[in-house]
Symmetry: C2
Subunit: 294 residues, 2 copies
């Protein structure tokens, strides 16, 4: 375990993956932590060139060793599936005192794979989930203010020292996040509820609205409600398929609830039971109002 | 049937129901058709007083006879359920040349009830559905620009004369709408797809996210995605229960499709079938992009 003196601040930060989150994080660090040195790694040259043009990093390179060597903090901003391979590559060259985190949307699987791998190697790992994505993607969409007012969920299943998680928390706060700590299983069931199931239902809404219909005409007639309800379904399909599969147990549990309720709504509609339907809509409105402080 | 000379413009317009739509329409007419005289009827004094304060109408009264007498155009902006009773009351006092329309969200039932009633009495009726509502309601939320850029669906199942429907179309265009004509059955299946089923799924999303959960904490952690996906679920429950029941046949047909697809998604998640899931999300994204011209 690392104590506070080892991470008073992170001087050298390596970000792996120049996508929306990784690129925005680089820009945010440059804006909010001007004394930190930022290194950015990616497989393709194109987003790295753009990162250089935007002065998002002191070094933007496809050379993994060059990027991670000497880093105090390494942020994995790649798809979860390729993280274990990256960790195996960098383990021989990273500083023993480095803290590694990630920005993945599912945390159980990350702790089960790279969390255990790193702990065995004596390297600190804490999971991070800055809830700041959107349906946009890539370095071209990166913004220095992406994390402003975002909630960042921290999962410390490996019980890394309090001083270290405080240092990570201050890091996320410096780029604009509010941090909440929880175990990875609580994290995964929480985000299934408020992010992953909504994604499925937004996609389902598009499917149900447009399948076997005159798509252009329906789009022309649709209003702001349809647009808002389905916005998040534009998220990158390969990224979202991975998230949904990685968090399948928590998601299917919530979808069981959704399926049962949808069947119940069908019954109310078939029976013309306006009163029950109104009661359900009232409960839903109250719940949402309570949740969002409306 | 009425010919064009009977409705060159509407000089005296009576709006029944001072809610969000009725109140906004009064304000919009005052702003865009300054030579028209606007009368507004409601059951309660309060919204009528507000309408007077906002100069939304030349006459705002609970006296139905006073409001509709001499009107060239009567706009029913009440819940669909109370329209037949209102029509029976006003039939003896309205001008034979008047055109009656409504602003309800379901059109089949309106034509089956008051459409037939008015046609028998020799009075012209055309259905209107300005798609300009929101989760807000009441005269307090009324805005003169509510109809700007909104699509207004016109249903002329009773085959009112072309000149009359053109006059109505120009009226809606004057307050900012783009009009599209269709039969009421096509209307009802279209809005089931792009408005009513999205409403059910937005409510289902709240239900699934918050039921048996720590509502305040979930709300705190939720991000813009949850907020947008569920916004329309805040619509007035009694109004929406009525809409859903009135359009139940078209809605349940689409919900069958949604239920089958949701069960299919469950199967993909249980089987870990990432490829099929990604293909579905890709199709959905393409469909939505095509519909909205993205």
């Amino acid at each position: 375990m690392n104590g506070f003196p080892k991470h008073p601040v992170f001087q050298k930060i390596a970000i792996l993956g120049p996508g929306l989150l990784g690129g925005s994080l680089a820009l945010a660090i440059r804006a909010s932590l001007p004394h930190a040195r930022v290194h950015l790694w990616g497989r393709r040259e194109e987003p790295l060139k753009l990162a250089e043009e935007l002065d998002a990093a002191h070094l933007a390179s496809t050379d993994l060793e060059l990027v991670v060597r000497e880093a105090d903090l390494i942020v994995l901003a790649t798809p979860v599936g390729i993280m274990p391979g990256l960790i195996e590559k960098i383990l021989p060259i990273i500083k023993p005192s480095v803290l590694i985190t990630d920005v993945g949307s599912v945390k159980g699987i990350v702790h089960q794979t790279i969390g255990q791998l790193l702990t065995k190697a004596g390297i600190d790992f804490i999971g991070s989930h800055p809830m700041a994505g959107s349906e946009k993607q890539g370095m071209t969409q990166a913004r220095a203010d992406l994390f402003k007012q975002a909630t960042c969920l921290l999962t410390n299943d490996e019980h890394v020292h309090e001083d270290t998680i405080m240092a990570l928390q201050r890091f996320w706060e410096a780029v604009g996040c509010n941090c909440i700590r929880m175990r990875s299983d609580a994290h995964d069931s929480t985000v299934a509820r408020i992010s992953h199931v909504p994604h499925v239902l937004a996609a389902l809404c598009v499917h149900s609205a447009l399948t076997d219909g005159d798509v252009e005409r329906l789009g022309l007639i649709s209003a702001g409600g349809f647009r808002d309800t389905t916005r998040i379904s534009m998220g990158e399909p390969s990224m979202w398929a991975e998230i949904l599969i990685d968090n399948a147990p928590a998601i299917t549990k919530r979808l069981e609830e959704a399926l049962a309720q949808l069947q119940q709504v069908q019954t109310l509609l078939n029976n013309g039971d306006k009163e029950e339907l109104q009661q359900w809509l009232t409960r839903v409105r109250e719940q949402r109002g309570q949740a969002l402080g409306l």
